[in-house]
Structures are given as C-alpha cells and as structure tokens.
C-alpha cells in the first residue's frame, strides 16, 4: 500500500517515467490564467488597457431566475443612453490616461535621479 506521505513522491516518479516514454506531452505546466496580475503589480501595458473605459454590453446582466428580460431591458437602456455614456467614458479615459502618462513621466524621472545618485556615490568612493 502507498502511504499518503509517500504518494507525492510515487506520483512524481511515475510521471517522470511516463514522460520519458513521451507521455504527458501536453501537461507542460503552462497556466492559462494571466499570471502577470496574480498577486503582483500590474504591468504598464495592462494598466493602459484598464485606463481606457468602455462599457461592454456583455457585462450587463441579471442573475435572477428568469432574468433574461431584465438583461434585455438593461442592454436596451444602454443603447438608448449611448451618446451620453460615450461622453462619460471619454472624460474618465482622458483623466486615466493623463494620470498614467504623468505617472510614467515621474517613474522615468525617479530612475534618472536614482542613476545620477548612484553615479555620484561611485565617484565619491
């Protein structure tokens, strides 16, 4: 019998043997969800994607039982309000992109200053 404590080691050995035979070729360990945002800081590319606000009709729904008519009504309202919402999206996006640009400028400036400070410190050594 395999003891529970030994199971992982046994499973690993078995997987290695099968891999040596060319099996488990598709179980590469590659992961489908975007690891770049799991727990860490979102990269600049993703931030700029998030900065652009665009209300998607797919995100309007009702989870109530028999909620299909409510979903349809919400999406109709969205269409009717489209002109106003586009204006709101644009204003919010303008602010977000402005802030992001200012942040990136600030980051570059900090990098330059840090580089200069390090160079000064090396010269003084």
């Amino acid at each position: 019998m395999t003891r529970p404590e030994q199971a992982q080691e046994q499973a690993r050995r078995s997987a290695e043997l099968k891999r040596a035979e060319g099996r488990y070729a598709e179980a590469t360990g590659a992961e489908a969800l975007d690891d770049s945002i799991l727990g860490g800081r979102a990269p600049a590319e993703l931030l700029s994607e998030w900065a652009v606000i665009e209300i998607e009709p797919d995100l309007l729904y009702s989870t109530r039982r028999g909620g299909a008519p409510i979903t349809a009504l919400k999406r109709l309202l969205l269409r009717l309000m489209r002109q106003h919402l586009v204006e709101l999206e644009a204003r919010q996006t303008r602010f977000n992109l402005g802030l992001l640009a200012a942040f990136e400028q600030l980051e570059r400036r900090v990098e330059r200053l840090e580089g200069a400070a390090e160079a000064t410190a090396r010269r003084n050594e």
Partner: protein, 345 residues
C-alpha cells in the same frame, strides 16, 4: 433577552460566509440569544438576511461582524458604540480579481487595508483557521481566538439526483473564481483522462464570479481537450450531497483558501482528497489529503492513486474521520459560545 446581530458585506444563497451566519444563528437561538442577520447586499434567492441599513441595535447588543470583503455599510458599523466580535473569514488578495471583477477587487483591496481598523474595534477577534489568524496577527491584532467553521453534517444527509454517466468522478466544489485555479484543474484532469482513465468525469460545482468569467472557464475547459467536463454552477444542497456520494476524488488546486469547507464535506463522505497545499488547506486537512506539487502530471498520477489504490483510500478515509473529530460540531459550538460569552462579558 440579549441580542446578537450578525453583519456581512454580501449574502448569497450558496456562499460559505452566509452558510456560517445561518449556522451561528441557529446556535445563538438555541442558546437563548435574540437578534437577526444583516447584509450590505442580499443576492436574489437568499433567505434569512435583512438589509444592513435596517440594523438598529440596542446599546447592550453584540454585533458579530463577519469580514470577508469591505463594504461602506460594514465600515459604518465601526462608528457604533455596541460591543463587537470580529469573525475573519479571509479576504481574497485583490490581485486575483482586478482583471476579472474590478468592483469586487476594490472591495477586497479596501477590505485588506481596513482589516486593522476592524480588528481594533472588536472586543473579541476570531479567525476560522490558523492561516487567517496569522493574517490578523500581521494586521496588528494581539489576541486572536481560532473558532473553526461550524460544521453541521446534518445538511449532508439528503441525497438528490446523482450526476449522470459512468467512469471515475473527479469532483471540484467551490466558486468559479480566479484564486481557485480551475485552469489548473482542467489541465490536470485532461492529463489524467488522457493517460490514466479515458472515461473519467469532471464535475465542477459552484457559482461563477460573473457570466464573463463562467464563459472564460468554459473556453479553458474546452481548450484543455478534456471530455466529460461539466461546470454545473450552484447546485441545491441535496444535489451536491449526491455528487459527493458518487465522487471518487475531491480535487482542490486553489491557491488561496481561508478554510475550505469542501475538505470536511469530502471527509464526511469518505472521499479521498487531492489538494494543493495552499493557504489554510494543510491546517484543515492535515495528513488526510494527498498533496500535489502543482505539476499537472503529478496531480493526474495522484488522482489515479486515489482512485485505484483501495488501501490508500481506506487510510485516507480513516484519517479524514480523525480530522472530522477535530472539527466536531459540539466542540466548535462550545468555542462559538465561549467567544460570544467573552464579547458580552
């Protein structure tokens, strides 16, 4: 009669926090306490909760705050003079949610920032696992009582309609949310099906974060190449029970867990558990689960062992029984009564 009210950010028909509030309410009623349960938001189909805006506690009442996400209504409770008892159920790190549900990510981000304030405001601070107690200590709480989830096996008795099909059944129970890593489940199950058991079935029970995330998971499941995969959404308790009764393995590859009630449910049904040793899982399951190192092939081999090695299954069932004794209802009920008694003293 002293009233003990419970408050949660959001209540739903299936989620573990609402289930715990209901279990505590029963216990509190049996112990002679009055009071009611309130939520900042009540999802359709949820019973037993009133709007938090309607909470009007008397000066001597106790407010039990169940903390798993921030809400403005919950935050305003801190200004009230009544005694408070904090139950920390854990808050999902927002990094898991920014890309899939920004609104919930904000609730979680603010919730984590506000955790020290909630801990400071409470007379008694409790966590339902050692893992969660560790987070409370890190947030500055000095004294934390560990009061496990109140596990009431009675609700697991009724058996509904069993899942269709033959072949070993791999069961996953938990909401479809990013930290549960269903993407890894699909990879591991596809590997198991290809290499070990072509007729195997995968049943994922639990409501999705939102419809777009449900669609994403369905796409990933299809892309994995696995067959016989069913994403069932939220099921009635008797159908979940029937799934456990038929399951050959409970698989949980979650990356962040505050407790993981399905572990105890699997032990109750004698179902072997294959798990990733993350968050509170090792503390709850102890040596009664098979732990994977995250490699999909290793997970597949562990599932195969759990399905085919009868003696291993027997040993895991025995150990699962011991874990259930550790989390026995009366033992936890006494811990709940002690915590409430201390908060009211």
């Amino acid at each position: 009669m002293t009233a003990v009210h419970q408050a949660v950010a959001g209540a739903g028909p299936y989620d573990a926090v609402s289930e715990q509030a209901r279990a505590w309410r029963q216990l509190l009623s049996d112990a002679g306490y009055g009071g009611a349960d309130y939520a900042g938001q009540v999802a359709p189909g949820t019973h037993g909760f009133e709007s938090l805006a309607q909470l009007e506690p008397a000066p001597d009442d106790l407010i039990v705050i169940r903390y798993s996400a921030w809400s403005g209504a919950l935050g305003r409770l801190l200004e009230r003079p009544q005694r408070k008892l904090l139950v920390y159920h854990n808050i999902t790190p927002p990094g898991y949610l920014w890309n899939h549900s920004p609104a919930l990510a904000i609730q979680c981000a603010v919730g984590r920032i506000q955790l020290p304030a909630f801990a400071r405001s409470a007379r008694v601070v409790t966590a339902d696992s050692d893992f969660n107690a560790g987070e409370l200590h890190a947030a500055g709480a000095d004294s934390v009582r560990v009061v496990p989830v109140l596990f009431e096996p009675g609700r697991l008795a009724a058996l509904g309609r069993a899942p269709e099909g033959d072949g070993p059944l791999v069961l996953v129970v938990g909401r479809l949310v990013p930290n549960k890593r269903h993407d890894r489940v699909f990879s591991a199950f596809a590997a198991y099906q290809r290499e070990c058991e072509p007729d195997a079935r995968l049943l994922c029970v639990g409501p999705a974060l939102n419809p777009p995330y449900a669609a994403l998971m369905q796409t990933l499941a299809d892309a994995s190449g696995a067959r016989n995969v069913r994403l069932a959404g939220g099921l009635a308790q008797d159908e979940v029970n029937a799934a456990y009764a038929e399951a050959d393995v409970l698989l949980t590859l979650s990356e962040h867990e505050g407790f993981c009630v399905p572990l105890l449910e699997a032990f109750h049904f004698g179902v072997p558990v294959v798990a990733a040793p993350a968050g509170a899982v090792p503390g709850v399951a102890g040596q009664a689960a098979l732990y994977t190192d995250g490699d999909a092939a290793v997970t597949a081999e562990l599932i195969d062992l759990a399905v085919t090695d009868a003696e291993l299954r027997e040993e895991l069932e025995r150990r699962g029984g011991e874990r259930l004794e550790h989390f026995a209802y009366e033992r936890t009920a006494q811990a709940v009564r002690d915590a409430v008694g201390e908060a009211l003293a």
